[in-house]
Symmetry: C2
Subunit: 302 residues, 2 copies
């Protein structure tokens, strides 16, 4: 995965990262099979449904700013992707967002049933900690204080995400202040994206200064990601997105689009992405993938 | 909490343990408040609903077989109680058991709503790991390998519990083989009870031999606990239990009572409790509380 002399096309590089993540997720799935085939299928169905793998890729690409041996960060990368997928399964449930489609396929509870979806989500959330505890057990003693700090950040970011989702649910169909809209975005989406970048940096022993700079990059792309999601929910292509467009409007969800209108939301998004990429200029060539990833967040169509 | 010369009445001692656990849970609740009052209320509602605190008490009482400074094991004790409560909230959901009452009060989703109950359960599951990671951060370096092993056992036992609940759900309304009935009991209830005892022993640096003996005690009381639950669901007092009696029959759940009949189930229960207490004879006086706790599991009316 080291950078080659002549840079590959960004999309090709992104695909390479996705394949690495998928390979490790498949290894996890094969290793962690429980005796209940249907529960395994339900976990695998969501985990391998073709997500973008943004969070684990951020872990790896940030790690690569400083170090090459990416195997060191893979457990944390896939644990994070498991958390992300747990949150999707639970958010889609009839009791929360009641969504029927995700990545162009029926949501977990539609494909299986509600009980299976609840328990598959619980299992993914919990098993992220199995993956991390197994990694800790194999770690060198001198690495443990750093990794325990990462575990703490990990668990606190997951808590933030759950609280963010709760507030999002609470405000459905209600007028929302700018303050709360930011609060939801920061917690529901931002927390795991910031965690991804910080884990990559901390695992690679980045300096405090680097960590601060990269955290700022992550805060900005996290917000940008959510604004872009809001925009896609409004004007995206349903077939490409794999889920219904206009759902936010139907549920009267609070979004950047409903708050500021489509054009202004795009303007805000563009400004934030610019700020994010400026944070990385100091790293030169090495940061090219992370810069392009920020641009990809702005320009993606799903 | 040290044992006094003249033993207190068992019920009084049990109450003392419960008060210690409740005090620590309240401290956690006050410390971990998120900005969302309703989500805090929902977590507190279930966590402080008056459970027996069997699991955390087993951690503490097992620890006390070897050591006195119980503060050392309190984080693990309350993390385990949080896991237990997460599982109750999710199991009660309409998509799983669809129960309306628990501890004589409306279940979490009845008191609040489904979204809140799902997310409060997620939060409890996840925050158990916050509690443990904070404890690890404060630990002496030389304690870490042992405690990381405990974290791994913890996460794997939670996984077992989730899988057990899944199988229980799967078999609703179906004929079940003895093998599967045991499988459900071992995983759904047994895993956390075994974990409780093993954590107490490991935290107190018990020998391998002690650990083996105590694991056997835990396996037996775990099975006994579930058989007694099945019996109470059949012939318990609805007002004392705080939940409807005969629910298992309504849902055609597989239980020891539906499998063996009431009398035979009681006979099996009695035999298992005897075996459990025999494991502890070697510890003499010191094990009196754990022996009486086994008898309490057999004779409890809620």
């Amino acid at each position: 995965m080291g950078k080659v002399e002549i840079r590959m096309d960004f999309k090709e590089e992104l695909k390479k990262y996705q394949e690495i993540v998928n390979k490790h997720l498949e290894e996890y799935i094969n290793k962690e099979k429980c005796p209940e085939e249907l529960l395994n299928q339900s976990v695998e169905y969501s985990l391998m449904a073709g997500g973008k793998r943004l969070r684990p890729i951020l872990v790896i690409a940030t790690y690569e700013l400083f170090k090459k041996d990416i195997e060191t960060c893979m457990s944390y990368a896939i644990a994070l992707e498991m958390i992300h997928n747990f949150s999707l399964i639970h958010d889609d449930l009839p009791g929360i967002d009641n969504d029927d489609f995700r990545h162009g396929k029926p949501t977990n509870h539609k494909q299986f049933n509600e009980a299976t979806a609840i328990l598959a989500g619980d299992r993914l959330l919990n098993n992220a900690y199995i993956v991390i505890s197994e990694e800790l057990k194999k770690s060198e003693k001198e690495e443990l204080p750093k990794k325990i700090k990462i575990l703490e950040e990990f668990s606190k970011a997951v808590n933030q995400m759950i609280v963010g989702e709760f507030v999002d649910t609470e405000f459905e169909g209600k007028q929302i202040s700018e303050k709360y809209l930011e609060y939801i975005h920061k917690n529901k989406t931002g927390a795991l994206i910031i965690l991804a970048v910080r884990m990559g940096a901390m695992l690679a022993n980045a300096s405090e200064e680097d960590l601060k700079r990269l955290t700022s990059y992550a805060e900005k792309i996290g917000l940008a990601f959510q604004i872009k999601d809001d925009i896609l929910s409004e004007e995206g292509n349903q077939e490409i997105l794999g889920k219904p467009v206009g759902n936010d409007k139907r549920l009267e969800k609070c979004t950047y689009v409903s708050k500021y209108g489509l054009e202004k939301a795009k303007e805000i998004l563009n400004g934030i992405i610019k700020e994010a990429t400026e944070e990385l200029e100091i790293y030169g060539e090495k940061a090219q993938f992370l810069i392009e990833l920020a641009n990809y967040i702005e320009n993606r169509n799903k």
